[in-house]
Point group: C2
Chain length 197, copies 2
């Protein structure tokens, strides 16, 4: 059926959606009440109209600048670099960081042929050069996987002469976790990163 | 951000989508070119307009009746009962069944409080009673899990006096599978269902 196949193709463009999940999603749209489908479409349209990327940090924003960049009470001399806009919310929840963010929108992945030009590293360099408040600290909070690690190392090398303090978020045992179930690399890092008590 | 939250809420109504996946999908819509998003919306709208449920078997259809029900060359005295419309395609690929289908749109699940009235069993009974060609055979091809099994047993009891031949699809070792990796129940059924060679 043409209409169904067309929707399945469109649904498969969403990240991580395989043929079976796309079929289940299509079945949902078929069964859902008309009003619910209309609300879905309206939500996509208004999001697409309203939400932009902040031209400073590339986080999501419904205004000219995102709330963090526009906030004079935040420490504009400190920047936390993350891979995805969603990471910001996770860090904000800790309440431990009062600086600004920079969203790379991905990570360097030699395996997938994604070099530094595929993420917003050039934009970070320009931002550091043009910042009115000199940036004193960059915290690299890319994901703790191979791509995030590669990106962190690459960034640290690039920024060494531009920023006095460069750091990487600490690895370790997650709170509430069970040592038995942890992979050995995390445990190794948690031992390396031990702190005196 | 209101627009983003609204879309995340809409995306979470799709089956099996949790908060993290909904955020990733929203990020996809944000990044996708305008044309791709418009094609997605057009696909949803046209599917919703064009695809209906066949009033005979409740499979998806873009016409008055679905292709199978409308085909005079199919055996109208044999009905294969499945849980979901997608199951039809899987059975059609085998080429081993030339009858009609009946889609229950789910299965009986006492655990989830879904009784017989939640699936299209009443519609099957009416169909059997009103069928011009007397139905000689019903093959119950619900999923090989607890709900599918419950539904199969319930249906078999209901249909016993209405249909001469009622059968359940055979359980067994899947082709290409490795005996080592099979659960014992499947293996048990494959032994019970052994055929002479």
């Amino acid at each position: 059926m043409q209409s169904l196949d067309r929707l399945v193709r469109a649904l498969r463009r969403m990240p991580g959606v395989g043929p079976r999940q796309a079929e289940r999603f299509a079945a949902y749209f078929l069964r859902a009440p008309q009003g619910e489908v209309e609300e879905f479409i309206a939500a996509v349209i208004s999001m697409k109209q309203d939400v932009k990327l902040c031209p400073v940090c590339y986080a999501y924003s419904e205004k000219d600048r995102c709330e963090v960049c526009a906030d004079p009470d935040r420490d504009h001399s400190s920047i936390c670099v993350v891979e995805d806009p969603q990471d910001i919310e996770a860090i904000e929840k800790t309440g431990a960081f009062k600086g600004l963010y920079h969203v790379l929108h991905g990570a360097i992945s030699p395996m997938e042929g994604k070099g530094a030009e595929h993420v917003k590293i050039k934009e970070l360099l320009t931002r550091l050069q043009e910042s009115k408040v000199p940036v004193q600290e960059v915290i690299i909070a890319t994901d703790p996987d191979a791509e995030g690690e590669t990106t962190a190392m690459y960034l640290a090398d690039l920024l060494r002469d531009m920023v006095p303090h460069i750091s990487r978020i600490g690895y370790g045992v997650p709170l509430g976790g069970d040592l038995d179930y942890l992979d050995e690399m995390t445990l190794l890092y948690s031992l390396k990163g031990r702190t005196k008590i």
